[in-house]
Symmetry: C2
Subunit: 206 residues, 2 copies
């Protein structure tokens, strides 16, 4: 909420001084990387260091750590919503639903911070999701896949964030050296979501 956007000054010239704008970007970029790698425990001084900026500068743009986290979360959820709208266009309804879930797993796999927000910041997550219009999007995605008879009828849109959350966590479990066992687990969950008796039975029936 308390972000410093381009709105306050009257309406002339760069709303933020050139160096300020540059630093703001640097901070966001650095924070994105740090939070993605180390999770929400990443420290503000480190963000500043990574952005080659003083802590004070970080705090001028984001009054509190939570604000920075929220800003990054909003960006990620916006990205997810974008994917959602795209999935809604897919010719095959099931494919759309399915790739949306998969995408939610992917972005979490690459971003520990996002995963942690989903798991331990219901407020931030709720706000960001709401702002991105995800509830409606999920509802459409669900209804559409159900109309085509490929998604179980007892699924409701509220189940989607829960599934995304669970899938995100799976994504973070320490994997043996031969990484990459989560994509298959996501497939399995999707199989569970498929309507029994729908045309597309999982894989070939052995």
């Amino acid at each position: 909420m308390s972000n410093v956007t381009e709105l306050d000054p009257p309406a002339a010239g760069p709303l933020l001084r050139a160096d300020a704008r540059r630093n703001r970007e640097a901070v966001i970029a650095a924070a994105k990387k740090l939070f993605a790698d180390q999770g929400l425990d990443a420290q503000m001084p480190d963000v500043a260091k990574a952005a080659k900026v003083g802590v004070g500068t970080v705090y001028r743009h984001f009054p509190a750590k939570e604000d920075l986290i929220a800003a990054l979360a909003e960006e990620r959820f916006e990205r997810l919503a974008e994917k959602g709208r795209e999935s809604l266009e897919a010719e095959d309804a099931w494919a759309g639903f399915s790739e949306f879930i998969q995408f939610s797993a992917e972005i979490q796999a690459e971003d520990r911070g996002l995963c942690e927000v989903m798991g331990s910041r219901p407020d931030v997550m709720g706000a960001a999701a709401e702002a991105a219009g995800l509830p409606e999007l999920c509802d459409k995605l669900v209804k559409r896949a159900q109309r085509s008879g490929e998604l179980r009828g007892d699924v409701e849109w509220e189940d989607v964030p829960m599934i995304a959350c669970g899938v995100g966590r799976i994504t973070q479990v320490e994997d043996g050296p031969g990484t990459g066992r989560w994509p298959r687990l996501v497939e399995i969950i999707l199989d569970g979501l498929r309507a029994p008796g729908s045309g597309k039975l999982p894989k070939a029936i052995v």
Copy 2:
């Protein structure tokens, strides 16, 4: 690891003075409740307060917060292993596997701390799981359910902790007022795990 068990003193009388034993139990009980309710962020002074004991006493029994957490985790994992051994006896192999997964969801639903250990303490979880013999147990459970043809053949025991983790997280997602949507999601995941074409198709084929 650094727990104070009944091993050190020679071998005479109560190995711990009566009051010490009593307090130790009180601390464990209090910690169990606090961590279950508030997660790993519960504070040591609060544990002490809840146990009606001074902080010093807590620290005499558990040199560090992590030790207390580990002790509780070990207890929970032992309980899970017990359930695992029991499930291995079930007449129906699938039912055994299935109820084991469900049980892992249940104990996490009731214990936020346990869920957090699984999600952010790979070391503690790994040690506790190992100590309880869970890897072997999971392997047996998986193999058995596969032999009976009811569990997908591509599942390996390493998938079990990941699934348990994901399911545990789902369990913790803030639910609307009409609580309790996770059990159905667990069912769905189990459906996904069922071998395609196995006798037990999910629910009735509508």
